[in-house]
């Protein structure tokens, strides 16, 4: 994958937990971002090759114009990856503009207690509901030229869920958290968004 030093407006980085209970939420995020004409990326695309995973992760994050960080699963057992990647995004936004980041949380005011340094930020509270994720991401990232109807995006999310199940069966995997399934879902999400008229063909 060729990455440019200047962040691409179309690229969005997803910093989310990889557990079975989060699959629907990840699919909702993919459906929302593709409806906005963005290309979702995540750490699954960074293979473990022993050549400095952190450097490759940083390069991927640097190449994305926006990043979404879900801190809803940063509970016990403590997982530091998501807060760590959020810290990297904060540093990027501060020192290597342009980069904007969004925080997602399950419960209201929880991030005020767990991460009081970011009290000025208003996190997107999704209550573990894909519907809320779709409407929240659309309202946060919509623009004049890209403002799909959340109801239509939710319909695409339902279709993408079915595709995810089919892909899991095809690849013989138990979860969607694999590099191949993730990129296939992004491709399918984009196709659905084009078919629904959310993004225009060239």
């Amino acid at each position: 994958m060729s990455r440019h030093s200047r962040p691409d407006e179309k690229d969005g980085f997803l910093n989310v937990p990889f557990d079975a209970g989060y699959e629907r939420n990840l699919v909702a995020l993919i459906a929302s971002l593709t409806a906005l004409g963005q290309i979702p990326h995540c750490v699954l695309e960074v293979p473990e090759l022993g050549s400095g995973r952190l450097r490759r992760l940083l390069k991927l994050l640097e190449s994305c114009r926006t990043s979404i960080h879900d801190l809803s699963r940063a509970g016990v057992p403590v997982r530091f990856n998501m807060p760590f990647e959020l810290g990297l995004a904060c540093a990027l936004a501060e020192y290597r503009k342009p980069h904007s980041y969004f925080i997602m949380e399950k419960e209201r005011y929880r991030v005020d207690r767990t991460l009081s340094d970011l009290k000025s930020q208003d996190p997107l509270i999704h209550q573990n509901s894909p519907k809320r994720i779709v409407s929240g991401v659309i309202s946060a990232l919509r623009s004049k030229s890209q403002s799909p109807d959340p109801k239509e995006v939710y319909k695409n999310f339902r279709k993408l869920l079915v595709i995810a199940e089919e892909l899991k069966r095809d690849y013989g995997e138990n979860t969607i958290f694999s590099r191949a399934i993730f990129s296939d879902l992004v491709l399918a999400g984009t196709r659905l968004a084009i078919a629904a008229g959310h993004i225009k063909k060239m």
Binding site: E9, K10, I39, D170, L187, M202
Partner: protein, 94 residues
């Protein structure tokens, strides 16, 4: 007298078009010379407005996504087939 009246009405009608508007308005002093060839030549012709630049996010087509994600052609065909089959089943899994 009748003939004269008829001739006057005919002249008046011929000066009007079908909408009842004068075909050729009389030239007033201020209009004289404005249509001369010299004026037309020197008149600046505005170019057609350029088409609006397409917003970068609108360009995110499937092909671009495929390129950005480094997806191979056979994978694309497979995803297309899955989507086609599911669409035929009205998005229901067996």
């Amino acid at each position: 007298m009748q003939k004269l009246k008829k001739a006057a009405a005919e002249t008046k009608r011929s000066a009007l078009n079908k909408n009842g508007v004068n075909r050729k308005p009389a030239k007033t002093k201020s209009r004289i010379g404005t249509n001369s060839s010299a004026t037309i030549k020197s008149r600046r012709v505005e170019p057609w407005p350029r088409p609006r630049a397409i917003h970068v996010t609108e360009k995110a087509t499937a092909r671009e996504i495929e390129k950005a994600l480094g997806i191979k052609r056979d994978t694309i065909k497979r995803v297309e087939r899955i989507m086609h089959d599911l669409e035929a089943k009205n998005w229901r899994v067996d």
